[in-house]
Structure formats: C-alpha cells, structure tokens
C-alpha cells in the first residue's frame, strides 16, 4: 500500500502528446461511451462546411500582452526623432509599409487593414486589458464578457464536438476578468490551452530543437489513474447517470448530463486530435515558430478547420511587449515570433479556403510612447496607436487612420475600442447590437460601437434595428 505514497504527490507533467496517446488507448477501450456519432464526424463536417454558403465564420484574436509598440511594427516614423532603429519595408500594397521585422506579413498585406488611429483612455495594463477585451472600462456592477465569449456564443453550435471558444497561452496576466465570460456564465468560458508544465524560454526550446508543449487543462485523467482504471470509471459513471437522468427529465439535470457527455466525447473522440500538434510535419511546426505563440497559431488553424468559431492566441503572456527598457531588441525578437506564427496562419488558412471565413484581430491593451525614454524604451501610450484587422470580411490592403509626423496624435480615422469590436462583429456576421441580459437584469449589447463600413468587405447596408435578447 505504501509503495506509491510519494510518487502520487503533485501532478506529473503530462504533455499533449503523452496525454493523447493515453487517450488513443482509452478510446479503443471505451467503445460506445461517447455515443455512436462520435467517430468519423470529421469528413461529414468538412462536407457540410464546403456546401454551406452561410458557413461558419471564425475569429482569431492575436493578443499582444504588455502593449506592442506601433512605431516599431505597423506605423513607422522614419526620419523622425521618435522613429527609432527599425527600417520600413515595402509590402504587396503600394505605399503601405511595415517594419523590417515583419517580412512575411508584408507579403500578406492585401489581406490586412492597418488601423493607425486607435485611441483609447486606459493607460494601465489591467484596465486596458479589460477595456480592449470587453469594450468597457472595468467599473460598475457588471462583469462584462470577454469578446471571445460574446462572439462564440453567437457563432457556436451547442452540439459541436469541440467547444466554441479556446484560448492559447493566455495566462490572464494583468486582469483575469478580461479573459472570462462574465455575466454570460461559465458555459461560455474558454477552454484554456497553455504550456503549464513547460516553462522553457523560446531560446531554450529552439536550442533543444523542440516545440512548446501546449496542454488542455484536465484533458486526461490524473497521472496516478491507470488507463484501464479510467475506462472502468467512465463506465461506472454512465450507469449512475442513465438512471438519474431518466428520472429527472429536462432542466438542470439534462444540461449537466449533456455537458458531461460533451466533455467525455471530446476527450475520447477524434475531436481532441485537433489538439495533437505532433501529427503535423516538423517542417510545418517549425514554419509557425517553435514557441507558445507559433504553436498556438498552428493550433488555431487546426481548430478552425474543425469548426471552432473563436480562438485567442497570446504573445508575450508575462507582459512581453511592455518594453520600458531595451525596446528595440525585444520588439525585434517578438516581431520574429509574430511574423512566423501569424503569417503561417494566414497562408495556411488561405491555402485551405478558410481565410475568407476567418477574421483576425491583432491588438494589445494600448500602444507605446512615440518618444524614446532614457532607457531606450517606450512607455504606455493609449492616445494614438495601432491594431490590425485581417482576413475574412475585412477590406484588406489599406491603412485606415493616420497619426501625425511624430506619432503623437491621431489626425485621421480615429477609432474607439467599441467601433473596433463592432467592426470585428460585422466582419464575422454577428449583430453587435444583440443584447444579452446581464446579472443586474439590464440588457447589454455585445458592444456599443458602430462597425466601420470602410473596413468591411461586405459593408452592412442597414444596421439591424431589432435588438433581440
């Protein structure tokens, strides 16, 4: 009895690859547990996808934690004292130029709208993170849902084998509530994929010739529970469940039962293979970048292929873009990761015909001061900064908005967070004025802003008057 006493303390690292091979075995032993429909859904799903003109729209939010420097990425100021060290390069769109550290994205510029007139009012990481994720400052009695929860609620299919909202590498730095489903409740909360047991730096991962190990929290049974044991447990549960569910029809018991079935089905069916990045060729994995962000972008592609409507991937989770000191080497390194992951994602989605149904939003909590400080860094700057919309539904190949010569103020095309998020909704075909009932009984729109029609490839003719709830 005592032989295992010490080995069971704490959880052993359980990377996706290992978890999944355990799962593969489980699947073989579990048979019908997840229901007959669980196997072989992928081809049918792909078929439905191709035929449906109103096919699922998707959204990828690339979140840049810490606040990325606009002047060193998408709004360069060459020749100005604020310009810094980086050079501009041409893109596929005449007159539109990016930083030299984003060469692959420059080749995809015709899919991208660079929003150089972002202007917000929150210069604190926590408040800015909340503002940009919810469209509201963190005040008052209401817990606003993160945009991924609100949009996926509209786009997801409750019977789909995978959840509607997945976050990758989001450690929820600065503000936890900004990443949560708020008053929409845990049903719309994201499934979190993270590198929990892999604390290696990108340099170390590259030196190891390895890839960041991303795991779904609680996907597999705890390490101390054996394979046969897990299968037996699931059967026992099934027996207990069927009795109770039959005696309490509908209501909370039916909802709980369905949710547990979906979770079990996800763990034990082909659906969870989406998370197994080891099935991708090494060359593909390398193209995306070996770190958490690159592998996260690859995972985003795999999830979108399988119909997941909203994926958020974080770069710089511990505030990597917060470059108060030594801005230039940091931004160069982050740009390399960004360029590899994001460009690969767009290229591969495009190859598969999925870019036109996938809208990508790139942003952080704010921009950075045009003026370079005494530590060769840049500080927080919400007054005039840049975000990017790209892909499906977006009128790409343009810079929308403009800052002055030194990047200090927006001189044209000022864009608020509400309008930005409303435009995102417009691009994925979600009515941003749709109301949900908040915990204080007040109906709340998804966002209060208006979509910017110049940014949409299919401009919304008439904003829908109906505000159903």
């Amino acid at each position: 009895m005592t032989i295992n006493r010490h080995s069971t303390r704490g959880r052993t690292a359980c990377p996706v690859a290992a978890t999944l091979s355990r799962r593969g075995l489980l699947r073989a032993t579990l048979g019908g547990l997840a229901g007959a429909g669980a196997c072989g859904w992928m081809p049918a799903f792909a078929e439905r996808f191709a035929d449906d003109p109103q096919r699922t729209r998707h959204c990828v939010l690339l979140w840049m934690a810490g606040g990325p420097s606009q002047i060193d990425t998408f709004d360069l100021k060459p020749g100005h004292a604020n310009g810094g060290e980086f050079k501009e390069i041409e893109t596929t769109v005449p007159g539109l130029r990016f930083s030299e550290h984003l060469p692959r994205l420059a080749q995809l510029a015709d899919h991208m709208a660079i929003l150089r007139g972002m202007s917000t009012a929150e210069g604190d990481h926590g408040r800015g993170t909340y503002l940009m994720h919810t469209g509201r400052p963190p005040e008052g009695p209401i817990r606003y849902p993160t945009i991924g929860a609100a949009v996926s609620k509209e786009l997801s299919d409750a019977t789909a084998p995978l959840p509607g909202f997945v976050t990758v590498a989001a450690g929820q730095t600065f503000n936890r509530a900004a990443f949560q489903s708020g008053f929409l409740g845990p049903r719309h909360a994201p499934l979190a994929v993270a590198a929990r047991n892999d604390v290696r730096s990108l340099q170390q991962i590259e030196a190891d010739q390895d890839f960041a190990r991303l795991e779904i929290e609680d996907l597999g049974p705890p390490a101390e529970v054996g394979l046969g044991q897990a299968a037996r447990r699931a059967r026992l549960l099934q027996e207990l469940q069927s009795d109770f569910t039959a005696r309490h029809v509908g209501g909370a018991s039916a909802m709980h039962h369905t949710t547990v079935q979906r979770a079990i089905q996800m763990v034990h069916s082909d659906a969870a293979d989406a998370f197994d990045l080891t099935t991708e060729p090494d060359a593909v994995r390398e193209m995306y970048g070996r770190g958490r962000f690159g592998q996260g972008c690859l995972l985003a592609r795999r999830l979108i292929e399988r119909g997941v409507p909203f994926v958020e991937v974080v770069l710089g989770d511990q505030g990597g873009w917060d470059t108060h000191t030594a801005n230039f080497p940091s931004v160069a390194a982050l740009s390399a990761e960004l360029d590899a992951g994001w460009a690969s994602l767009m290229e591969e989605l495009n190859d598969r015909g999925l870019l036109e149904s996938t809208t990508i939003l790139w942003m952080g909590e704010f921009g950075r001061t045009p003026r370079i400080n005494g530590n060769a860094g840049r500080d927080h700057f919400p007054q005039a900064w840049t975000s990017v919309l790209a892909g499906g539904g977006i009128n790409g190949g343009q810079a929308y908005g403009q800052t002055d010569a030194g990047g200090m103020t927006v001189v044209d095309g000022a864009l608020s967070v509400d309008d930005l998020l409303a435009t995102l909704c417009g691009a994925v075909g979600v009515n941003s004025r749709k109301q949900n009932i908040s915990e204080v009984g007040r109906p709340i729109r998804i966002v209060d802003g208006k979509p910017v029609s110049e940014l949409l490839s299919d401009p919304i003719v008439d904003p829908p008057a109906a505000e159903e709830s």
Partner: protein, 534 residues
C-alpha cells in the same frame, strides 16, 4: 531531484496528522446514535404552512396538474441541508436521520439546521452575492468582502430582523475596510445612480435603472422617479473629493443630483410617489430613505424579500426574475405572494421563521422526480426543480466527501484559501437561473480529471477512502454504503448494491480493492445526482 529532505519531513508530518484525522473519521462513520434532544418546536405555525399548501393544491386542481410524490427522508435531508446550510450532511447525520422514528423529525431537523453556524455562513455568502455586484467578487474575495461577509454572518447568527439589517446597511458610516456594510458603497464608487439602481433592485425587486437616461419603456418609472430616488445618496462624500475622502462613508449634508445633461436639480422622492413627510424628514437623506425602504409601509420590501427566499428554495420566484417586479411581469401566484409578504412583515421580518414555514410546506417536500409534463409541473411548484449548486456549495460538498472538516468560521489556512479560490474562480457563475446547469466543458473536465476531484477520490489522500479501506471490520457492502452516504446522502439501491459490490469484489487484495473503491467514489462525485440539488 525535487524530493529532498524538507519534503520528506513534510510528508512525515502529514502522515501523522492524517493518522489522527482518520481515527476521527472512523469514529464518526460508525457512530449510529446521535443526540436526539431538541428544544420544543418554538414557532410551529401549522396554520400558515397549511394555507400555503391549500392555495397551491387549489391551483393544481384548477389547472389539472398532478404533484409528484413526497420526498423520501434521504432526499429531504440532502435537499434541506444544501438549501439551509450549503452543504450535504455527514454520513452519521444521514444514518441518524434515517433511523429516527420521531414523526416530527423533519421539522426538528429544519430547526436544528437553522440554528447551526453553517446556516449563517451559507446565508452570508448568498446575501453577499445579492447585495454586492458580482464584479466585486474577484477583487474583494479576500479583501473587504471578508468584513462584509462576517457582518452578514452575525446578522444571521442573531437572526436579526431583516428590516433592521437592511436599515443598518443603508445608514452605515465609517471606514470602508473596517466596517462591513460600507463595502456596499465602495463597490459602486459611491455613485448615487449606481446606489439607486442596486438598492431598488436588491431590496425592492424593481428595475428602475432603465429610467436613468429616459422614462422606462414598458414600466411605470420616469426619469424623475429614478433621480428622485438617487437623490437620497447624493450627499455621500465621494472618492473624487480626494482631499476629504479618506475612505470614509459619511454624509456631508450637501450635494444634489441633476437630470442628465440639464441643470435640473431633482429633490429626494420615494418610489411610491410620496415626498418625504414630516415623520420621515429627520436625519440624513439616507436615514430618511432607510426608514421608508425597510418597513411594512413600503409596498415592495416584504414582497421582494419573500419572493427571493421562495426562489432560493424552489428555484424560481412567483415573480421571475426575482428582481423584476412590475406591470409587465405579473406574479404566478399573487395571493400566495401577498400572504407570505404580509406574514413576513407582521412577524418582524423574521427570516428564520419564513424559512421554517416554507421548508415545511408540502410543495417544498415534493420529489423532484418527473418523467412527463416536467416544465409545467415545475412552474406550478408541483414538482421540485432541480437546482444548480453554487461554486461554494460544490467545493464544500467535495470537502465533506473527503472527510475534511469544514471550517464553520474563522480564518482558514493559506493553502486552503488558495485551493478554494482557484476552484471558485473556475466554477463561479451568476446567481440567477439556478434551474440551469451553468458549467461548460472546462468545468466538466475539471470535475472529471481535475486536481480537486482527483484528491477527493484518491485512495491515499481521501480520509474517507483511507478510513473505509483500512478498517478491517467493514464488509464490502458496508464500505459501499458509506461511500453512497458520503457522496449522495442515501443508501445504495438493491440494484446498485449488486452492481457495485461485484465491481469491488475482485482479486488483487487490498491494493486493487482500494482503487476499486476510489473508482466508485469518483463516479459518485461526477454524477448529476452529486452536483445538483434535487
């Protein structure tokens, strides 16, 4: 590599502690005789309970609705324990209750639960959620919410008349971090319009906040009603008065509210249209408001409160949602609502009395089992609704199953706090809509595979499992029984006995047997029957 000398030392200590705890667990598991001494039933009010039963039964007959069967003792015990104390009963409490032959045992149980410290702890949590916006949960969970919750707990320990509690909240003064109820103001940054909205919604069950910017589209409220109500909070010192504020809730005697985008000052005005008459004008504006708001004269206060308490027990109020009374949303059982409100006001807003009356009704003691006409019967309170547990309740039930002692009050250890906090963060849900299961796939995965449940069903970490396994005098049948009692508060059915005993009785000795028992406990914990209140 990670396991050096210090961790050996820690695990040695832990084993000793565990050993002592296990002895306690075994003692509890085999105790059959409980204390049966009770005070005489203090406020038996068979008349009111009977009247509620009559009114509902008449309605069922008129609508041709068939009520479900009465609950079994085990069903009732689990339900009323969860509703009144937030947690399932212990194994020995279930055994005692099932063995008790006293015909009045259900009423006595209700009294016992209402007198327990756990009742005050549970209701303090519920009322904190009701009184504070949920956005404050996160930031205040370990900070200022603690004094607020302790203050509430004391109100429930003392069974203070509810009108007094509300008045104290409304007139409180003092340092926000020291005086519990002051958080009510700080949570909304002392803004008169937010205080107007939360006060009317929380205590009167009316949504006047839609009238903040314009007259209410489908209810009676005008913009003047809203700002007239908000004017009662206009003279609080605001945090933006940086020089003077100093974190105090204090009435300054000056300050007015104006209609938005105008210079029109709105004077204090009560929601029933009355201006303050002389009897009410003494003291600060908040004192004036409090005297009117929490009183029998107020047409909303008692109704909103009994409706909320009914919803707490039955899953939905007569008016649903509970904070949306008005012309547009008529009560399902108006006569019953009036009866309860009148009785509540006539008896000093005695919360425990109200709970005692409601839990004794036939409707509360009906089974939740329905196989047909489910929605209609549930809405008519002819079948108990199946209710979701709050995150706190799920966590406490898991602690109970492992055999951990629940801290009734006082500061828990920092590791307990961290574990609880992580769990609550994952399962926390808006309090409304308890008749829906709130969790999604992440929560389901956390129950199936997560650390808290893994520990609760671990053959060496669960005190319950260790005690059950290590005690040579238990048969497999008895072991199984204990697991069912601990997790589901009932005996296994004959069918379950057969199936699960066969499952446990496999060759492989103690090693395999302990894992098989753990499997059973894991399955019980993951069942709908465990995670729901039915």
């Amino acid at each position: 590599m990670m396991r050096g000398a210090p961790s050996q030392h820690v695990s040695g200590t832990r084993t000793m502690v565990n050993f002592r705890r296990r002895i306690g667990v075994v003692a509890v598991l085999i105790t059959l005789a409980g204390s049966q001494a009770h005070a005489a039933d203090p406020v038996a009010n068979p008349k009111l309970t009977a009247r509620i039963d009559d009114l509902l039964e008449q309605q069922w007959q008129a609508d041709g609705i068939e009520p479900t069967r009465p609950t079994s003792d085990a069903e009732f015990l689990r339900r009323v324990s969860l509703d009144l104390t937030g947690v399932t009963p212990t194994v020995s409490a279930v055994r005692d209750f099932l063995a008790d032959t006293d015909p009045a045992k259900r009423s006595k149980l209700i009294d016992r639960l209402l007198d327990s410290r756990r009742h005050a702890v549970h209701f303090a949590r519920i009322w904190r959620e009701v009184m504070l916006p949920s956005s404050t949960n996160e930031q205040f969970r370990l900070g200022a919410a603690a004094p607020f919750e302790r203050w509430l707990e004391q109100q429930f320990v003392d069974n203070r008349p509810y009108d007094e509690t509300v008045r104290e909240l409304l007139v409180t003064t003092g340092q926000v971090n020291a005086v519990g109820p002051a958080l009510f103001y700080q949570a909304v940054q002392f803004k008169p319009e937010e205080l107007a909205a939360s006060t009317s919604r929380t205590f009167l069950g009316v949504q006047i906040q839609c009238a903040q910017c314009h007259d209410h589209p489908f209810d009676q409220w005008t913009q003047k009603d809203f700002w007239g109500f908000a004017a009662h909070f206009a003279q609080l010192r605001r945090p933006d008065d940086v020089a003077q504020f100093r974190g105090l809730v204090v009435d300054t005697g000056t300050g007015e509210v104006m209609l938005p985008d105008t210079d029109v000052v709105v004077q204090p005005r009560l929601l029933d249209g009355r201006h303050l008459d002389e009897a009410l004008t003494a003291g600060t504006r908040r004192e004036q408001l409090a005297r009117w708001l929490a009183s029998a004269d107020n047409p909303w206060f008692a109704r909103a409160t009994v409706n909320r308490v009914w919803a707490l027990l039955f899953g939905r109020g007569f008016v649903d949602p509970v904070d949306d009374f008005g012309q547009h949303n008529h009560p399902s059982h108006p006569e019953l609502l009036d009866l309860l409100a009148r009785d509540f006001a006539d008896h000093d807003f005695d919360m425990r009395r109200l709970l005692r009356v409601l839990t004794r009704t036939r409707a509360y003691q009906l089974s939740s089992e329905v196989t047909y006409d489910a929605a209609r019967r549930r809405h008519a309170f002819a079948a108990m609704s199946v209710k979701s547990l709050s995150a706190d309740q799920i966590y406490d039930c898991l602690q109970r199953v492992t055999g951990n002692r629940l801290l009734s009050s006082g500061p828990p250890s920092s590791s307990d706090v961290a574990a609880r906090r992580a769990f609550l963060a994952k399962f926390d849900a808006p309090t409304q809509q308890v008749t829906e299961f709130q969790g999604g796939i992440p929560q389901a995965l956390a129950m199936l595979n997560g650390q808290v449940v893994a520990d609760a069903s671990h053959w060496e970490k669960s005190d319950l499992l260790v005690a059950v396994t290590d005690s040579p005098f238990f048969s497999n049948a008895e072991r199984l029984e204990i697991l069912f009692l601990a997790a589901l508060s009932r005996m296994p059915t004959d069918d379950e006995r057969n199936r699960f005993e066969e499952y446990i009785a496999v060759p492989g000795g103690e090693f395999e047997a302990s894992r098989r028992l753990a499997d059973v406990l894991w399955a019980l914990i993951n069942s709908s029957e465990f995670i729901l209140n039915h």
